[in-house]
Amino acid sequence: MSDVANKINYLKKLYREIVLGFSVFDYSGEPIFIKHFSELDNGDLESERSNCFNIAKERGLQDREEKMVLLIKEGYWSREKEDEISRIKKEVSDYEMLLKNLVIKRQIISTKDKIRNLNRKLEEIHQEKAEVFGLCLEDFVEKKMNELTIFNSFYKNKTLNEKLFSEDEFDRLPEAEISKLVGILNNFYINFSHSEIKKICACHFFISIFGLCEGDAFNFFGKRICDLSILQINLFSQGRYFKSLMQSRNEQAMPPSDVMDDPDKMIEWYDQMSHGPKAESDGVSYFGASKSELQEMAGGKAIDVQEFAKKKNNSMSTKDFIEMHGI
């Protein structure tokens, strides 16, 4: 079977799991079922968050702000360090923003280096802070929420009516077993990352089925919107977005069949469509870019100003410059 056929079969498997609302994994040789959470499930988790918060607070566990006040008062931490964290974060964010707009390789490399160095410094300060602060209320609540997510995710059967562990069993589960379950859950989240959902929506089989539901989620899943899993909502939204991109093209601009057959190529096509067609006159110059970078950016249509000038007998008027930029 070809790579593309394998890929499509795999995406069909993921699609099936999204529609069914659960995934099957192997746990110590036995099948276990991961429930795909809905927003209602997430809401339940969030209500537990405040319970955990109140219990720990009642027992005297300080939140980060309270701990910071104490540690600053006793001289183990300082406002300056907090300011430094904020400053570095801001710098990283500025450089990341800059990175998105850079096209010159040398500038990209140098900016990435700066970001890496800043992140390393940030990591050092965070590590020092973690040692000084120890366990805070927020850390505790986060840990409990992670455990609760694990507890609520796994089921014994596909009807999802019997959890894999009772509360008591889960409470006595060794750390090694919890790590195993975390590993399974991580794989699950990787399988259903946004890029995989996009690929499913770019598959021919999905486009055909989706075309029949007339943009109605109930027609597609047979469920109320509030009962849909988050993955179902993501799939439906992505499908609708791609359909609208497709509809915005006329018949002549439809992707060729070899693109239609490969979800990765289809995504490239959708991405090009979403950025819109570039006007012919979209001329632009980049300072510091090498010849090959310019050719790459212009899709092989870059013009060398010296060669252009030669054609004009080395004497260029404003009109010639405008012409060179295709305006």
Binding site: R59, Q62, Y76, G134, R172, P174
Partner: protein
């Protein structure tokens, strides 16, 4: 699933028990005579294997006690660590490397010994023969590791973390020590908060009850050792 009990032990208690013996009366007839005699009866105690909930409670307790120590004016371990690093009091890179190597070797030996123990193709005698040299090497490494850690931890004796850690050991004793009576087990210090349990501990100590005092001593010793990473097998060997 974790076993419910981390460790089980007996403490003998001198108790008056009714004893029935077969005797003959003056006429030579068989009779049964019951009388109360003092006997040493083994009483069962257990150390609870901490569940995740108990471990969470313990980490909250520890963190609260660290903050309490800081408020009381004790220095923190991380502060002292930085100070000692600047002054060159802490072990150098070479010492640390040797310690890390000893640690890895000890773990590898533990795994090797366990593999031999699980090997069904070996007889018990063969297993003993193969484990014996590994065991003495393991004990030697454990001593080195213990000495290194002991020396370094003594540098941090007067920190908020050390105070919290000592209190945490007490917390574990108050929460993990269980007594068995008529086949059912309950916490030796009953239910309630840390302070309520501590009151019961103090009451036992004040009572001068030799039996309960010896239960406390043995329980606290075992819990302390188990918390410091000793295996059940090590404990059994030490107690024997």
């Amino acid at each position: 699933m974790k076993e419910k009990w981390l460790y089980n032990f007996d403490v003998e208690k001198t108790q008056k028990v009714k004893e029935t013996v077969a005797e003959k009366d003056a006429d030579g007839n068989d009779i049964e005579v019951s009388r109360e005699v003092e006997k040493k009866i083994p009483n069962k105690f257990h150390i609870l294997n901490p569940t995740r909930k108990i471990q969470d409670d313990a980490s909250i307790f520890y963190s609260v006690k660290v903050s309490e120590g800081i408020k009381l004016g004790l220095v923190t371990k991380s502060y002292l660590m930085r100070k000692f690093q600047q002054e060159g009091v802490l072990p150098n890179a070479e010492d640390k490397k040797i310690h890390a190597e000893n640690y890895s070797k000890a773990i590898k030996l533990e795994v090797d010994m366990e593999t031999i123990k699980q090997n069904v193709s070996l007889s018990d005698a063969e297993k003993d023969l193969q484990i014996s040299p590994l065991k003495s090497e393991y004990q030697e490494l454990r001593t080195k590791i213990f000495d290194y850690e002991n020396l370094n931890s003594s540098l941090f004796d007067n920190t908020a973390e050390k105070r919290a850690s000592d209190l945490l050991n007490l917390w574990f004793v108050l929460h993990l020590l269980y007594a068995e009576k008529d086949g059912s087990q309950s916490c030796l210090f009953g239910d309630g908060s840390f302070d309520q349990k501590l009151d019961r501990l103090n009451a036992i100590e004040d009572s001068g009850d030799e039996f309960l005092t010896s239960v406390l001593e043995k329980g606290a010793f075992l819990i302390g050792r188990l918390n410091s990473g000793s295996s059940k097998e090590d404990l059994m060997a030490e107690i024997a």
